[in-house]
């Protein structure tokens, strides 16, 4: 793992910001929403050229070898643009799980392909509960050729775009991770209809599907994968809420009623001041949690859950109030506020719900009793 300075991290983020500003601005996003895949491969290839898809891939496999702090920072940029590609699954969670395998000759080519942009990974982590902390709903059985998977996995993002899927499955009462080549497998014909139109979700039913096991990747790595996903998602939520908040403050300064900017009215001012507390708290804890995970601090898990529900709930709160603060204009599809607000709802449920994370945070706290 490489150490990045704050300046280096900022430079990567600035680059990503420029790329997204050119290729994934609101106009591009609205066009993308209308496509079946909801995925811009040319942008993905640009990201690959810049090394971003290989962010967490070890330099031995052509990656940058960054850690969760850089991922969190990049996700803040992604959140600002509501970037909707499979970055968390393919560039944050998958590389870490693959690198945890002891069978380097097996995972090595995949890592190189992630970095080069040739492969895209989805993660199947849960059943209908949507909760990665629940027992897996897919079972793995060893046969003469290797492993086969049976059962349904749900809430998989970008399954149609993905070339591969890492499946968290039950193997003899324990969790293990299996690799499925999506080319070998007939994926579902279409995505489910989601309220957040930037989202691409589907379920997959495995029925004796041939899979490879990631050797020596078990409970600890799988729990760690959830934590990675939660921190990356928290970063996205921070970026999203800050963008929506800034749009709102600007509107309060420029929208005139009763002959003055509406931001002069205390009813609106006070809402804005309260939201600032929520935005800054989320910002602080997302970064602290990423830092704690990167340094292996003892409070890392507790801080991860704290960041997860704080950022998820504050994103929803900030975007909901942003619509109210705008008034009628934000009740239109043309205005971006509802896009942020809908993405915020997505984040309250993906990987583990914010209420679940709040409970797990309390559980970590109870360990101090």
């Amino acid at each position: 793992m490489l150490e990045f300075s704050g300046e280096e991290r900022q430079a990567i983020c600035d680059t990503f910001d420029r790329v997204l500003s050119d290729n994934a601005n609101e106009e591009a996003l609205r066009k993308l929403i209308e496509t079946e895949s909801g995925f811009d491969n040319s942008l993905w290839q640009k990201m690959a050229e810049l090394g971003l898809t290989g962010l967490m891939v070890d330099p031995d496999y052509d990656g940058i070898g960054a850690n969760i702090q850089e991922a969190e920072a990049l996700m803040e940029v992604a959140g600002k643009y509501l970037y909707s590609g499979p970055f968390i699954s393919s560039c944050v969670v998958a590389p870490v799980l693959l690198q945890a395998s002891s069978n380097l000759s097996m995972v090595g080519p995949h890592l190189k392909n992630i970095a080069s942009g040739n492969s895209i990974f989805a993660i199947a982590g849960c059943g209908q509960s949507g909760d990665w902390t629940e027992p897996p709903t897919v079972n793995a059985i060893q046969n003469a050729d290797g492993w086969e998977l049976s059962g349904s996995a749900h809430f998989i993002t970008h399954a149609l775009t993905a070339s591969h899927c890492l499946v968290i499955a039950n193997e003899g009462g324990e969790r293990a991770v299996f690799l499925v080549d999506m080319h070998d497998y007939s994926v579902p014909a279409k995505y489910q209809s989601t309220d957040d139109k930037t989202l691409r979700l589907s379920n997959i039913t495995f029925n004796g599907t041939q899979a490879l096991r990631l050797e020596d990747v078990g409970e600890q790595q799988i729990a760690g994968a959830l934590h990675l996903a939660l921190i990356a998602l928290a970063g996205e939520q921070v970026g999203g809420m800050r963008a929506m908040f800034e749009i709102t403050i600007q509107y309060l300064n420029t929208r005139f009623q009763f002959g003055e900017p509406i931001g002069r009215f205390q009813a609106l001012k006070h809402m804005a001041a309260d939201l600032l507390v929520d935005v800054e708290s989320a910002s602080t804890v997302a970064r602290i949690a990423a830092q704690a995970m990167a340094s292996g601090s003892g409070d890392s898990v507790l801080l991860t859950y704290l960041a997860a529900f704080t950022c998820a709930d504050n994103f929803r709160k900030v975007t909901a109030d942003a619509i109210q603060l705008h008034g009628g204009i934000a009740y239109t599809m043309e205005h971006p506020a509802h896009l942020y607000w809908r993405r915020a709802q997505t984040g309250q449920w993906l990987y583990a719900s914010s209420d679940k994370c709040r409970d797990l945070y309390l559980l970590e706290m109870e360990a101090k009793l």
């Binding site: 804005a272 600032l276 507390v277 709040r358 706290m365 109870e366 009793l369």
Partner: protein, 390 residues
């Protein structure tokens, strides 16, 4: 450097402070004035100030080394460059002559109270009506102040007065450091909803203060006052982090211990409430750490203005959830837990009203941090004597 400093301070403390009996070595009882004088003379009371003004010219980081050494031994008198509002204000705004005359006395004296709020000037503090009328090289002061802590013990008060009734509200104010121990100053305690009496009313009738004791410029007191109030808000923020210390470093927060004791951790609804309350407290602590880092790096942090709002949410929320944890037993002030929950519920208003209400704080954040337009004040630009009151 800081290791040298540490051993120097510790050596000094070991020689002079008896940490078993909490008093100066070789004395029978703790005498504040003598001890404080010793600390001030050593430069340890205000280490970040220049040597000329009783300091050591150290950085805030180095000052922390001194503060820590004092705190671990329970020795008093540290951090007066952070917490002594009167001295800090005189240090920042007073003329050299005033500093020479008062600074040492303030630093070695017990307390300096704040004579700001009045019955008719709470949130709209610039509406103060306490008159100061020039009489030779003195001013004669008449009026009423309220919400004054430590007014009984205080030897000085920082006093906001009206000195020009014809000027606009903010233009006719003069800020004084005012001697409390004189005829014409009467202090009456207020009975608060917590049952405490930390605050007082101060009735001032033809009391006197020298014109040398003006802080800043005559009739420009509002400007000087802004400096003083900024220091106060900073202290409130710092106080918050200091008080939070108990929850840090692996210890279970008090609310969690209470919930555990009363079996509330089995209830899934209460679990959500409790977790959220603990989260608010931890988030604020993390924000204040970030504020400190930003202040060290950039000299300022907008985060510090958020601590008060955050703390109101924390305190009101914890009190509300403590009551839920106790259930109907909270109706009886017969157990320590119920007493605490009921006391905390009332006490939380101290944070959300005291030092400027949360609503005023939201205005400040909206205007100064977020850059939203200032609220209209219809009394702002008219002569003070024409302003309606009630």
């Amino acid at each position: 450097m800081s290791e040298d400093l540490k051993s120097k301070v510790e050596g000094w403390l070991d020689a002079h402070w008896d940490s078993i009996n909490n008093r100066q070595v070789g004395t029978a009882i703790y005498d504040a004035k003598t001890w404080l004088a010793k600390v001030v003379d050593a430069g340890y009371a205000t280490p970040t100030w220049p040597v000329k003004w009783h300091g050591l010219g150290l950085s805030s980081k180095e000052a922390r080394v001194i503060e820590n050494a004092f705190q671990t031994r329970g020795a008093k008198g540290w951090g007066r460059d952070r917490y002594h509002l009167g001295a800090i204000t005189i240090f920042k705004l007073g003329s050299d002559a005033l500093k020479t005359e008062l600074l040492y006395e303030l630093l070695t004296g017990p307390i300096c109270c704040l004579l700001y709020s009045e019955p008719g000037a709470g949130s709209d503090l610039a509406g103060v009506r306490t008159r100061a009328v020039k009489d030779g090289d003195e001013f004669v002061v008449t009026g009423q102040k309220v919400w004054t802590s430590n007014a009984v013990e205080a030897e000085y008060g920082m006093l906001l007065t009206r000195t020009d009734m014809d000027a606009a509200k903010h233009q006719g104010i003069t800020f004084f450091i005012f001697p409390m121990k004189q005829a014409g100053v009467e202090v009456r305690p207020i009975n608060q909803i917590t049952g405490e009496s930390e605050f007082n009313e101060v009735f001032i009738t033809e009391a006197r203060v020298s014109e040398r004791f003006i802080i800043g410029e005559y009739n420009q007191g509002w400007k000087s006052f802004q400096t003083a109030i900024a220091s106060e808000r900073l202290i409130m923020g710092q106080g918050i982090t200091a008080r939070l210390g108990g929850a840090a470093a692996g210890k279970a927060p008090a609310l969690l211990q209470l919930a555990h004791k009363h079996g509330a951790l089995q209830d899934p609804v209460l679990r959500q409430d409790i977790a959220q309350a603990l989260a608010y407290r931890q988030l604020n602590a993390l924000n204040m750490l970030r504020a400190k880092e930003e202040m060290m790096k950039n000299g300022a942090s907008s985060l510090s203005s958020l601590g008060k709002l955050a703390m109101s949410r924390i305190q009101h929320g914890e009190a509300r959830i403590s009551a839920k944890i106790l259930g109907p037993q909270v109706l009886f002030n017969e157990t320590e837990d119920a007493l605490n929950a009921n006391f905390d519920g009332a006490k939380a208003y101290m944070n959300s009203i005291g030092g400027g209400t949360d609503q005023i704080q939201r205005n400040i954040i909206a205007e100064r941090v977020l850059g939203l337009p200032k609220s209209m004040d219809v009394s702002r630009d008219i002569p003070f004597k024409d302003i309606k009151s009630g």
